[in-house]
Each structure stands twice: as structure tokens, then as C-alpha cells.
């Protein structure tokens, strides 16, 4: 166990980062870490607090890998407040009267929400907006009021900054009205100027939120029941309310430090040097509670600087000498769906600075660049409504901007944008502090040529993800420079990407590989383009995978419609929609397994896998299934695999919807659908999520009112949780949005690209995909719907079709000159009562043991 004890006060975002960083770097296990947090939760993502209103439960907001808290060198004490620090004794006292000694103390106490001392701030119905408990209480209150008042709940938010606008969005999402009251003369006064504030105000009003600027709140007056009832303003105005949220600012929590006589900043915050040390060398402070000399003794209310402080402190405890250089206050936010971003000298305070402004009253966007007096060097910028150039321009601060600055803020296509070459020192990922130089070095020196690997290697783009387009661009530029072609080409036969080929084939209406390669490619094809074309043809026209010239295009498993195993035999997985099966059908499966001596195993997708079927046995096995009213299943290939589900409301005490019926409907709808990669779907009957649906490409989770649909999850090599697409929708809408999501994916994804990376790299990300699917922003929904309907209408039992077609059936023989003869090289041993392929050593032994040689034990020639 660690020789030195580190105590962390506060279990918030920065505490989490510190513990993770120290555990990653402290390979020798020198430090034992105790974390004390007064909240009842493990560290959670406060930045994403507003998403609480669209999530199934608070656990979805938890930060980082849960294993961190299982680490024997880390103990997390929730619900425990640190009361006092005794610097001489090097102890902290807890609220349960326990004292703990420390070798190093790290203060990560964050901030608390602050409200002006107006009468009525403590009435029932008045809330702060800082913690999970705050938002949970707010939600309960709004729901309860809703039930009582029988009209939309009247909501008001005091404060028109980031938190206020988020709170207004939350009120609206619960069906309440929202009025934002701001004391300053504009919204987001810290991030945008007057014109930007005007633009923001009108964009937000379009969304139905009322905005009052330049108005001070003087009182919250109670109604007859003593709850918050009326807001009174200093200009004499009044407004009726049922709920009020104060988002009027934060104050660093420096009280522990003050009481221990540690110096604090003028405007609060524990004073630290650039290595995050307080005056006491064994006490550090990080995150929002700290006021660093690198930030002129001010505390910064953003997460990125806190993360850097956490890393610096962990590094220092291990003897490192990194320092914190001060905050990059550049921010990009999405408020009620409106982009707001500012960076650098956004308010043009540099003497002689020039402002280049573009504002568009129709779209409501406002964009501004701040340049040096000769318009050559970029100093800063501000975006409201459209922040698409933010990721590219932010790292350019202090560098010469080639070309006409206005080209960067005019709508795309109106002016030619020059190619930018970022300086090495430019900070590309401000969340994790990754420079353009370190990304280039990862590409050139460490030979990383893949975006996914680049992300995990450099950490760039792994937090908020807004820099990903830029990271990808740097990667491609570097690859091009070193002569590595970043070709979109599928293979040597097709110079196009899968996406391009898909639309080319669709538009030209071609149906055979020969026509397609003649028209769009060259040569005879290969094992890369043939299956791709096979899959595209199946996606566009459906039709049998073994029809006409298609059989020769199919990849290993599709070619014989079963799953090829390592010894060349196949496994068969009978379709069991939704995992629901009658005892009679179970018996059929058992009989088939026995008769053909198939190794039997239950799969992770709630199906039964039968292994060891020889090629020539497949038709007989399928026939047995067909006779019993079943079909084989697509447990293979790039297609829908299974729809996993829990039992749901028909049996489960907790279920709120019938997840099994939903799963069966989905499996029957999408079975046989060919796609760029495998597709998995899960359905859970309530938020307990027993089917692990959020680990699937499409996850459907029951709610009291209907279903939430999540997309883009996967297990495997880089596990991803699926993201929310729509919530509380009915069955029909579930089908409709999934139809469209899957079709859009099938049409536009790369070869072998799963849904998670596809939706990450889709231009504009999930938001853009939502726009296409829910708002028909590309005008293609009718087409997507029709395409899926065609698939559903033309689905046939592929296996039965083979059984009925002697020509296709002829393919299922072992040897052209000995059709019934089993492959003599197959050899098995028995383990736990079933057979499995013999290992090389076992085969040799088998051959020696039986020199009389039966066909089962002969070794390959």
C-alpha cells in the first residue's frame, strides 16, 4: 500500500481528474488516495448537468471509468464533509468526528451558487442550479406544480449567463414557460458584446423564451400558500411565477482555507502559485476553488483550466515540474441549440484592434473577428448562431491569418477560404491541452495514421470533441505531406469511397457487379470491393445474396449464409426474435444439435449457436428448422444481428413497457438488412436497462410515457454508450426514427465503419443527423422511409429460398467429385461432453493413435 497519503477535499470534476491523473502516473503505487465529497454521488459531469432532464437517471452523468473507484489505492467517501484543516498536525476533521492525517492535501472544493440577498430567495419554489440535487429538486417541484395548477407552469430564471440560459432550456423541456431576467443590458455579458447579445436574444426569443435585460429583481414575493408567487423588479414591474431559478453567479468555496489561515484572492479563491501550491507546501488547491497567480489571482469558472491544474498537481507530487500557464477562456457553448463562442481578445481591447463583423438578420447569426491594426494577425473572435469556424480559428490566435479575414465569417461558399497552416504551438484541443505540434509528432514520429488511435494516443478530441474536425484535418495534411496518399479509394479497382459508390450505383440503377466495375472501376475486383458492392446491392435492391452473379461477391459468411469457424465448418444460429422461444422450438433445436452432433452454446445476443456443421450439412439443418416453422438467422455478416431484450412489463415487477414485443417487432422489421458493418439492437423495459441497450447501435429504453431511442453505441474494441436521439415517443415513431437512422447510416458510412464513429465523423455530428431525421433538413426523409419499406416488404427467408433452388443448392457440397464425402481433414476432441476442433498438438496425437485412419482423425495432406 502507498507510503504517502494524499487527501482530496471535494469529489467534483477536478477531483476526479486529479485522482485519475495521479493513478495513471504513479506506477509504483507510492500514494494512497482518500477522497471526501459532501455530495451523495461519485464525481459527475457538472458541465452536462442540464442533460439530467433528458437522461434516465443521475448515474448516466457519472464521470470516467467506474474501475477508478475500485482501485485498492483509492477510497472515495461520499456524503462526507471536511469540517476543518489542522495544518500543524496535518489532519482534516470530518463531519462524523473522524480525524485523518495527510502527507499532501489537495483542495478541490469548487464553487457554490450565489444569489443576491433579495427578500424571498429562500421561499419554496426558488432553486439554485449547481448540483444534481438542485436539478432533481427543481424537476420534482415543476412536476408537482404542474399537477396542481393545471396550466403550463410559469418559470423565471434570474441571470442571463451560461447557467441561466441552460436553466431556461431545462424549464422549457419540462413544459414550463421561461422568462430570463438579466440585470446587465445584454445576455452572456462575459462572452459576447452588445450586438452579439442582441443576436442571441432574438435567436432565443424565437425559441419561445422571454428575455428581459437591464432589469434588477428586487423581491420574490410569496403566494397565498407561502410559495414563490410573484417576481418584483426595481423598475416597479411584476411577474407571476410558480418556480424561480437563481443563476446569478458563483463564489469559490475557500472557507476551509480561510479558517486555516491560507491566503485567498481579492475576489475569493484560494491563492496558489503556478504549480498549484498554496502558501503551505503540503497543501494544493485545484479547480474553481483556486485562484492562481497564472490567472492574476482570479478563480476561473471553467472545467478545462481545472483539468490542467489537476494534471500539474499530480505531476508535481511525483517530482515533476510542469506548471499551469493560466486559463484559455475561449468557450464554445450550445445554449438551447444556439451556438455561442468567443475566444482571444473578443472585446477588442488591444489598442488599434480592428473588428470585422458579419451579421445576418434572417438566420440571426452574428460573427466577429478581431485583428491587429493592419488586419494581418488574428487576436480573437465571437460567434453567435453559427460557430462553424470556431474550431479552425481559435488555435490561430496570435498568428497571421492569410487572405481576407471576412472570408472566415461570410456564409460558406461566398468567399474562398485560404488553407490554414497552424503553428506547432497552437492549442488545438483546449480541454486536454494538446497542441498542433504534438498531434503532428504523433503522426510523423509515432506513425499513427488513424483518427481513432490518434485520439487515444494524444487525448485530443476526447473531451468535448469540438476540435475533432481540426484534428482530422491535421492528420490528413501530415499524411499527404509525407507522401502517404489519403485516398478515399475503396481499393485498386474503385477510386471512390463506399459512400460515393453507393450513390453512383443507386443513381445509375446498376444491378450487377460486371456492369458496375465496367462503368465505375477497372480490373476484375477483389475481396475488398466485391463484398462492398454485394452489400450495397443488397441494401439498395434487397434480393437474394446468392442470386445471379452476386454469390461470388459475398464475403465468407454471406457466401454460405452461416458463420464460418476456424476449421472451415460453420455454425448455425436459428432466429429467435427477441430471445423468446417456446419449449417445442427449443426441442427442435436440441434435436438438430444432437442429430448433427453440433457443439451448442448460448450467445451474448440471447440466441443458441450450433457449431461444427459441415458445408454439405447446412441445407439439411435449415430444412429441419424450416419444417418446424423457424428460420436460420443472420448471426453473421454485415447485417442486423439480433435484437436483445429483457422480459419487460409482461413479467417484470419494474417494467413500464412491453420490451419483448418491441424487440420482436424490430427484429422482424430489420432482419436481413445489409449494412456497412454489423448492427446490434437492444430493448429494455425500464430505465434499469437489463438488456444493456445503450451498448448497441440502436438502443430502445422504455419510459413511463413511451420509449427513448439511443443511437451509436457499441461494445467491442472501443466501447461507446449510445446517445439520445428522441425521448418519450410512441411505437410508430420508434420505427420511423430507426428506419431513417439506419438508412442514412447505410447510405453514407464508410466500408466497415460502425455507427459510433460514423455519427462522430458525420459532418455536424449527431446534431446534424437529428436534423436530417427529425426535421428533414435534407429533404430525404420520404426517400429513406420508402427505401426501408421496400426492404421490409421484400424480405424473404434466404435459407428457404436456397432449399427451393437446385442451382444454388448445388453450391453446398463438400467436393465437386464426391458431393457427400466429408472433409477428411476435420478432427475433434471431446471436452465437457461436447466436441471441439482438435489443436495442432492433439491432431498429431490423434493421427499417431489411429494409424488405421478413419475419416474423422486423418490429418491434412
Amino acid at each position: 500500500m502507498g507510503a504517502e497519503r494524499v487527501i482530496v477535499v471535494g469529489a467534483g470534476m477536478v477531483a476526479q481528474r486529479f485522482v485519475q491523473s495521479l493513478r495513471e502516473q504513479d506506477e509504483a503505487g507510492r500514494f494512497e488516495i482518500e477522497v471526501y465529497g459532501e455530495e451523495q454521488y461519485a464525481p459527475y459531469d457538472r458541465v452536462a448537468l442540464t442533460s439530467f432532464f433528458s437522461k434516465a437517471g443521475p448515474e448516466e452523468l457519472l464521470l470516467g471509468a467506474p474501475e477508478l473507484w475500485d482501485d485498492p489505492l483509492v477510497t472515495l467517501h461520499r456524503d462526507t464533509r471536511v469540517q476543518r484543516i489542522d495544518r500543524k498536525a496535518q489532519t482534516v476533521s470530518l463531519d462524523n468526528d473522524v480525524e485523518r492525517t495527510y502527507d499532501h492535501l489537495v483542495l478541490a472544493t469548487g464553487s457554490s451558487a450565489w444569489a443576491p440577498p433579495v427578500p424571498g430567495v429562500d421561499l419554496p419554489g426558488v432553486f439554485m442550479y449547481r448540483t444534481l440535487d438542485d436539478v432533481a429538486e427543481l424537476r420534482d417541484w415543476v412536476r408537482a406544480r404542474q399537477a396542481i395548477v393545471g396550466r403550463p407552469v410559469r418559470g423565471a430564471v434570474i441571470g442571463g449567463g451560461l447557467l441561466g440560459l441552460e436553466a431556461a432550456g431545462a424549464l422549457q423541456s419540462m413544459g414550463a414557460t421561461a422568462t430570463v431576467v438579466e440585470f446587465a443590458n445584454r445576455l452572456m455579458a462575459l462572452q459576447v458584446d452588445d450586438s452579439g447579445g442582441e443576436a442571441l436574444k432574438s435567436l432565443i426569443q424565437r425559441l419561445g423564451v422571454q428575455v428581459k435585460c437591464g432589469v434588477a429583481t428586487s423581491e420574490v414575493a410569496p403566494d397565498a400558500d407561502g410559495n414563490a408567487g410573484t417576481l418584483k423588479f426595481s423598475n416597479g414591474g411584476e411577474q407571476l411565477v410558480d418556480v424561480v431559478v437563481f443563476a446569478t453567479g458563483i463564489r469559490p468555496r475557500d472557507d476551509l482555507a480561510r479558517e486555516a489561515d491560507l491566503p485567498v484572492g481579492e475576489r475569493g479563491g484560494i491563492l496558489v502559485d503556478s504549480a498549484c501550491r498554496t502558501e503551505d507546501p503540503s497543501i494544493s488547491a485545484v479547480g474553481e476553488c483556486a485562484a492562481s497567480e497564472s490567472d492574476q489571482g482570479m478563480s476561473i469558472g471553467l472545467i478545462a483550466p481545472g483539468n490542467t491544474m489537476a494534471d500539474v498537481t499530480a505531476h508535481r507530487l511525483l517530482g515533476g515540474d510542469e506548471v499551469y500557464l493560466g486559463a484559455d477562456t475561449a468557450t464554445k457553448l450550445k445554449l438551447l441549440g444556439v451556438d455561442v463562442a468567443s475566444f482571444g481578445d473578443a472585446f477588442a481591447t488591444t489598442p488599434g484592434a480592428l473588428e470585422v463583423v458579419y451579421s445576418d438578420p434572417f438566420s440571426g447569426s452574428y460573427k466577429k473577428l478581431v485583428m491587429t491594426d493592419d488586419a494581418s494577425v488574428l487576436l480573437g473572435g465571437m460567434f453567435v448562431g453559427d460557430a462553424s469556424s470556431y474550431a479552425t480559428l481559435r488555435p490561430m490566435v496570435g498568428a497571421a491569418l492569410p487572405g481576407d479575414p471576412s472570408s472566415w465569417i461570410l456564409p460558406e461558399g461566398q468567399a474562398e477560404r485560404p488553407d490554414l497552416e497552424l503553428p506547432d504551438a497552437a492549442n488545438v484541443c483546449s480541454c486536454n491541452n494538446v497542441t498542433a505540434g504534438s498531434i503532428r509528432s504523433a503522426v510523423n514520429d509515432d506513425g499513427i495514421h488513424d483518427l481513432g488511435e490518434l485520439k487515444s494516443h494524444t487525448k485530443a478530441g476526447t473531451a468535448c470533441g469540438s476540435c475533432l474536425p481540426l484534428v482530422k484535418k491535421i492528420l490528413n495534411t501530415e499524411l499527404e505531406k509525407s507522401g502517404i496518399e489519403v485516398s478515399e479509394a475503396l481499393c485498386e479497382h474503385f477510386a471512390m469511397s463506399r459512400t460515393q459508390l453507393f450513390s453512383a450505383i443507386q443513381v445509375a440503377g446498376l444491378t450487377t457487379f460486371t456492369e458496375i466495375i465496367e462503368r465505375f472501376g477497372s480490373g476484375h475486383g477483389c475481396d475488398i470491393c466485391k463484398p462492398t458492392v454485394g452489400s450495397i446491392l443488397a441494401s439498395i435492391y434487397n434480393g437474394h445474396v446468392l442470386s445471379d452473379d452476386r454469390a461470388a461477391l459475398q464475403d465468407t459468411n454471406d457466401r454460405y449464409m452461416a458463420n464460418m469457424q476456424k476449421d472451415g465448418t460453420y455454425s448455425v444460429v436459428p432466429r429467435i426474435p427477441g430471445g423468446e422461444i417456446t419449449p417445442d422450438k427449443l426441442l427442435v433445436i436440441a434435436e438438430v444439435a444432437k442429430e448433427f452432433d453440433l457443439y451448442t452454446k448460448i450467445t451474448g445476443g440471447q440466441r443458441i449457436d450450433l457449431f461444427g456443421a459441415r458445408l454439405e450439412q447446412l441445407p439439411d439443418i435449415w430444412q429441419r428448422l424450416v419444417d418446424a416453422g423457424m428460420e436460420s438467422g443472420h448471426a453473421y455478416g454485415k447485417s442486423l444481428r439480433t435484437v436483445k431484450s429483457c422480459v419487460g412489463s409482461s413479467w417484470c415487477r419494474y417494467g413500464v413497457q412491453d420490451s419483448t414485443s418491441m424487440a420482436i417487432a424490430l427484429e422482424e422489421r430489420y432482419r436481413g438488412l445489409r449494412s456497412p458493418h454489423k448492427l446490434k439492437v437492444g430493448v429494455s423495459g425500464c430505465a434499469r436497462e437489463c438488456a444493456e441497450a445503450r451498448g448497441k447501435d440502436v438502443g430502445v429504453i422504455a419510459t413511463e410515457k413511451g420509449w427513448n431511442v439511443y443511437v451509436g453505441g457499441n461494445g467491442g474494441f472501443t466501447p461507446k454508450h449510445a446517445q439520445l436521439l428522441v425521448e418519450d415517443v410512441d411505437d410508430e415513431t420508434v420505427f420511423q426514427v430507426i428506419d431513417r437512422y439506419l438508412m442514412l447510416y447505410i447510405r453514407t458510412a464508410d466500408r466497415l465503419q460502425r455507427t459510433a464513429p460514423w455519427q462522430e465523423e458525420y459532418e455536424g455530428g449527431l446534431e446534424a443527423i437529428k436534423d436530417v431525421i427529425l426535421n428533414d433538413s435534407l429533404g430525404i426523409c420520404a426517400d429513406l422511409d420508402e427505401h426501408m419499406t421496400h426492404h421490409i416488404d421484400t424480405y424473404e427467408d434466404e435459407w428457404k429460398a436456397v432449399l427451393n433452388d437446385p442451382k444454388r443448392l448445388a453450391q453446398f457440397t463438400s467436393f465437386v467429385n464426391a458431393p457427400e464425402e466429408p472433409d477428411p481433414s476435420l478432427a475433434y476432441v471431446t471436452e465437457r461432453g461436447q466436441r471441439r476442433p482438435a489443436t495442432t498438438a492433439e491432431r498429431t496425437a490423434l493421427v499417431h493413435a489411429s494409424s488405421t485412419s478413419t475419416s474423422e482423425t486423418e490429418s491434412p495432406s
Partner: protein
């Protein structure tokens, strides 16, 4: 037992009729103890190689995808997707894997078509 299959280790052995071969869809044949994979390509040519995949040890080459690399006709193993020349048997793409036993290349067998019959010569194989 493999006695049902006629054939010797030397000389041309008939295995099937040309009509049994569908363009680009390989078949396996048993010649004595040896498993052979036979392919008919869209230019009408017929090729035979060992059916044993060197990288997996399974007899599956006949179930792979045909194609070309440059002008060289190829066959890809269905198990780990190595690509081999149908002319020389040489492994062109190893997919960063090692063969389970022996070398990475396939034996190629001489094929002749006689009166609509496909004849294989195992002795010619190397």
C-alpha cells in the same frame, strides 16, 4: 475413407465437367488424399491450387473470393483474408500473420480441359 474417388498421385485425373464450374465460384475436389480448389474465371481460364489455407490450416480456399491485383488473378482466403496469386500460388498479402505450418504460398496444379472434362495433374503441383 476416400476410396470412392478415383485417381493416383501422378498424371492427369478427371475431376468434373467444365459445366460444373460457375464463373468465380470455386469448388473443392478430392484427388486421392489431396484437396484441390478449382476456379473458373470470367476470361474462361480454369485454375487449381491447394485447398488448404496455409494461415489457418483449414481446407477452405475454394470458398474464397476471386479477383485480381494488377493483371494477376488472385484468390483470397475466407478465413483471415490473405491474398494469393492463382498463377504462381505466391502469397501477395499476409495480413500480418504467420502460416500455421510450412510456407505461406499455395501449391498450384496444372489444369487441362479435355472434351469438356476438367483434368488436374497433381504431379505438376509445386
Amino acid at each position: 475413407m476416400t476410396a470412392t474417388v478415383p485417381g493416383t498421385r501422378h498424371g492427369l485425373v478427371p475431376v468434373c465437367s467444365l459445366d460444373d464450374l460457375v464463373t468465380d465460384l470455386g469448388v473443392a475436389a478430392l484427388v486421392g488424399d489431396t484437396q484441390v480448389a478449382i476456379f473458373r474465371l470470367d476470361d474462361g481460364s480454369v485454375h487449381a491450387v491447394q485447398n488448404l489455407c496455409p494461415f489457418s490450416g483449414a481446407n477452405v480456399m475454394s470458398r474464397g473470393i476471386t479477383g485480381d491485383r494488377g493483371d494477376e488473378p488472385t484468390i483470397a482466403s475466407p478465413i483471415y483474408k490473405q491474398v494469393f496469386s492463382l498463377l504462381t500460388g505466391k502469397c501477395l498479402v499476409t495480413m500480418d500473420k504467420e502460416p500455421v505450418a510450412g510456407g505461406p504460398d499455395l501449391a498450384v496444379y496444372q489444369v487441362s480441359i479435355d472434351n469438356g472434362q476438367v483434368m488436374i495433374n497433381l504431379a505438376g503441383g509445386e
